[in-house]
Amino acid sequence: MKGNTKKLFRDGLFKNNPVFIQILGICSTLAVTNRVKNTVVMVAGLLFVVALSNLTISLLRKAIPSRVRMMAEVLIIASFVIIVDIVLKAYLWDISKQLGPYVGLIITNCIIMGRAEAFAISNPPWPSFLDGIASGLGYAYVLVSIAIVRELLGNGTLWEIQILGDWWVKWTMMVMASGAFFMLALFIWIMKGIVFRERGEA
């Protein structure tokens, strides 16, 4: 059991990372990473949804007929997303405004659907819950690292606190669309290089 847990986390965080190995959940990876604060909120929301939806789907896995399982999964995921949305609106109104449709789009985030299909539907609840957390954390650290670079270079700030002084020429491109694409490509490049070396293929 303990070895299994370790393997789950190693896979989710590194070897089978949802973002840079499986290339899932790219939409939100690109969209919310222009500010660290928004990214952290988004990541927390996703972590909550993926862990609890995995748990719920796994608990119900014997009750869901396989013909309608996709629809059932989507509805379970959507219910958790609604909870996240309402909580954000109640306590973090500004950030919820800035994230706009991307909170709702957690529903179609392929990571959650992918984990539900690939893991939760055929595994007991506790490992499914851990698997959800592992994938969520794998997503989290990629997003937060991209966001740190983008906000620092693009705005000279981190968590909206001025880090770089007036001498810094802001790279406006970094907070715009193209910056997101370049950063993610760079990240994939670096991480794949490391993973390949691990496997001894380099």
């Binding site: 290339i23 939409c27 629809m71 449709p101 529903i107 994939i188 290089g193």
Partner: protein, 195 residues
């Protein structure tokens, strides 16, 4: 005036606020399907069609059924509407035209989980579009998405035999190209501004 407004939304959705290159929606299928021009055209057409009609249907559902008490249910309702619409279209196409089914059939199930479709419906609610504007926005976004994926497929065919640094093959290089495309599309900004 409303017609002109809808027209502006339509053009803005294609060029200045391209759903893929400025809002990053529909990336998953964009990255995996843009290998060939032909399949890109098929998927693009299917997305455009579904997007235009689901945004119109969702507008009606949102404004006549959900406002004001059940607004928080919109995620579930929208996704069910999209899934049902895709299913119905698939059944109709299968009956009516074999050619069309062969061309679009395999793409339709993919579309239900394409985040761009749900994204368009959510943007429509946030930006408070009228019915006509919503339809124009859906249609324009679909065409904009199609434009981007076809352009990408064309470029990927050109670079198919080029030497690409290790680890950057596939998704990496596609993202870099998308980044350059996004920069090119920034050139359109200022033509029309979208509220």
């Amino acid at each position: 005036m409303t017609f002109l407004g809808a027209f502006a939304v339509f053009f803005a959705a294609i060029f200045t606020n391209n759903i893929l290159l400025t809002n990053y929606l529909g990336m998953c299928s964009f990255l995996s399907v843009s290998r060939e021009v032909k399949t890109s055209v098929g998927l693009g057409a299917a997305v455009t069609f579904v997007m235009a009609f689901t945004s119109a249907i969702n507008w009606a559902v949102y404004h006549y059924l959900l406002v004001p008490d059940l607004v928080y249910l919109r995620y579930i309702v929208f996704i069910v509407v999209i899934a049902a619409f895709v299913q119905i279209v698939e059944m109709i196409i299968e009956r009516v035209s074999d050619v069309l089914y062969a061309a679009l059939g395999i793409f339709l199930p993919l579309i239900t989980v394409n985040c761009a479709i749900l994204g368009v419906s959510l943007f429509m609610v946030i930006r408070e579009y009228t019915f006509l504007q919503s339809f124009a926005f859906g249609l324009g976004s679909g065409l904009g998405w199609m434009l981007a994926i076809i352009a990408m497929a064309g470029i990927r065919r050109k670079i198919a035999k080029s030497p690409i640094p290790r680890g950057l093959e596939g998704a990496g290089i596609t993202l870099i190209i998308a980044g350059i495309m996004a920069m090119a599309f920034v050139g359109f900004s200022g033509m029309i501004t979208l509220g």
